[in-house]
């Protein structure tokens, strides 16, 4: 579903954010992308979602060439950015409807799907609320709703559960699992929460200073009686708990 080879990004000013990342994600997998702050997770995701042009490297995303056919890639993926994208003054039903139509749904489909997605994320009844009046956790769920109207085959979630209360977080895990079980959606997500990575992901990729330093299932990374936290510490020199507290 994702096949990246040698992806690198050097920002203007010489800051190398991602170095030679080669990775793959199989259809139907839920893969966690872990790493300390500034490791290059968001940068990698923005490259894979067509938002940022890699300095070098190539990738096939959702069956299409990232550089050669970005428009096709966009059609098949959903992306929730780390900082979200809710307009403060637009009623969210209206904005979600627009988003659905830009994804190619007809007016009627867009209306149906808007209601469906809002219900799925426990946001029914909030259609007329402008984004600016929502709580942080509600806004986060709206961000996720924006990525779903076109039933993407591949979902990129950059810290989707940051700022959610435990109940909402557990609900979101359920939603993610259900998306995979019912629609076969592949999920690539970042998180700073160890329990989340452990409970939700089939496989983890750990990135540090722009380079992939480990990959494996949570069980594999915990081999030898280490906790995931210890494994993370060994690999990156920093504790996951420390990260989560940031």
């Amino acid at each position: 579903m994702i096949n990246a080879t040698g992806l690198s990004k050097t920002f203007k000013g010489g800051d190398v954010a991602v170095k030679n990342v080669t990775m793959s994600v199989r259809p139907g997998e839920i893969v966690g992308f872990l790493g300390p702050n500034g490791a290059g997770k968001t940068t990698t995701m923005r490259m894979l979602t067509t938002l940022l042009r890699p300095t070098s490297g190539t990738a096939t995303v959702a069956g299409h060439d990232l550089l050669g056919d970005p428009a096709r890639v966009r059609r098949h993926i959903g992306y929730v950015s780390q900082s979200g994208g809710v307009s403060p003054s637009v009623p969210l039903g209206e904005e979600l409807h627009l988003q659905a139509m830009l994804y190619g749904l007809s007016r009627a489909e867009a209306s149906a799907r808007t209601a469906e997605v809002l219900a799925m994320l426990d946001l029914t009844g909030m259609e007329s609320r402008p984004g600016g009046t929502l709580s942080g956790g509600q806004r986060r769920r709206v961000d996720i709703a924006f990525a779903l109207p076109h039933r993407p085959a591949l979902l990129f979630l950059d810290e989707p559960t940051t700022g959610l209360d435990p109940q909402s977080r557990a609900n979101l895990w359920d939603h993610i699992r259900r998306l995979r079980a019912e629609d076969g959606v592949t999920v690539f997500l970042t998180t700073h929460y160890l329990d989340e990575a452990d409970a939700l992901c089939d496989r983890l990729l750990i990135i540090d200073h722009g380079e992939i330093v480990a990959t494996g299932s949570p069980a594999e990374l915990k081999a030898g009686g280490r906790t995931l936290d210890q494994a993370f510490l060994d690999l990156t020199g920093r504790s996951l708990r420390e990260e989560a507290a940031l």
């Binding site: 940022l52 059609r75 994208g85 809710v86 209206e94 627009l98 830009l102 984004g131 924006f146």
Partner: protein, 241 residues
């Protein structure tokens, strides 16, 4: 592309209409010039000279600052969210530019209507041709404004554009015709594309359609439109915007 543009245009227009106070102030501002400055000007010149000047001033001020809207969208992350949809990049630009064009049409129509009440007399054909010219010019400037807003440091956009527009307005001869200016200033003003457009506008309001001045104004507008839309599309296309 056409569908995406239409969707985004409707969405942006609705968002603009929601800001009723902003709309009202935007419409009232140029009327102040007409009502409080016009009568003074009328003692030395004609309404057919003044109103085109105010239209150009209005067009430059309102569409020049259009980019400000996209700064907010960039900050809220909404722009990036739109950029991961398959919507055409040109549509992301045109959907906004068309909204600015509609806003400008409404402002110009209001200005001309009040101008008529005060004594402006211009042939309908001239008014319509002038409106078309100004709308193309304004839409192009809006496109350029978006490109600048996305390229430049966001904090600097408002002060820099706000400052850049002032010499452009003055050099176009919006308040007093440049024929009254000393030689060096007159010469300098030819550099501003807007002077040519304004002079064409004045000819059109005067009922002269096929003059060299009108041709020059149209030509300058077309060239400006091509350049602005090219730059605008390129910036919206670029991955980092």
């Amino acid at each position: 592309m056409v569908r995406d543009t239409w969707l985004l245009f409707r969405h942006n227009l609705r968002a603009t209409l929601r800001q009723k106070a902003g709309l009202i102030f935007g419409a009232i501002q140029p009327l102040f010039f007409l009502v409080l400055f016009g009568p003074i000007f009328a003692t030395i010149g004609s309404w057919e000279t003044l109103v085109p000047g105010l239209i150009i001033q209005l067009g430059l001020m309102s569409t020049g600052m259009a980019g400000f809207g996209v700064v907010f969208e960039k900050r809220s992350g909404a722009l990036e969210r739109l950029r991961v949809t398959p919507a055409s990049r040109l549509a992301l630009l045109l959907g906004r530019v068309l909204t600015n064009a509609v806003q400008l049409i409404l402002q110009v129509v209001l200005l001309v209507a009040v101008g008529y009440a005060l004594g402006l007399r211009a042939p309908v054909a001239g008014l319509l041709a002038g409106l078309a010219l100004v709308v193309v010019l304004g839409a192009s400037l809006a496109a350029l404004s978006y490109a600048i807003a996305l390229t430049m440091n966001e904090q600097l956009f408002a002060p820099v554009m706000g400052t850049a527009v002032i010499p452009l307005v003055l050099l176009s001869g919006a308040f007093l015709p440049m024929s009254m200016a000393p030689g060096w200033l007159d010469a300098l003003s030819y550099v501003s594309p807007f002077r040519h457009v304004l002079e064409a506008l004045r000819e059109l309001f005067g009922g002269h359609y096929f003059t060299g001045t009108v041709v020059a104004g149209v030509a300058v507008t077309v060239v400006f439109a091509v350049i602005s839309l090219t730059v605008g599309t390129r910036v919206f296309n670029r991955a980092s915007a």
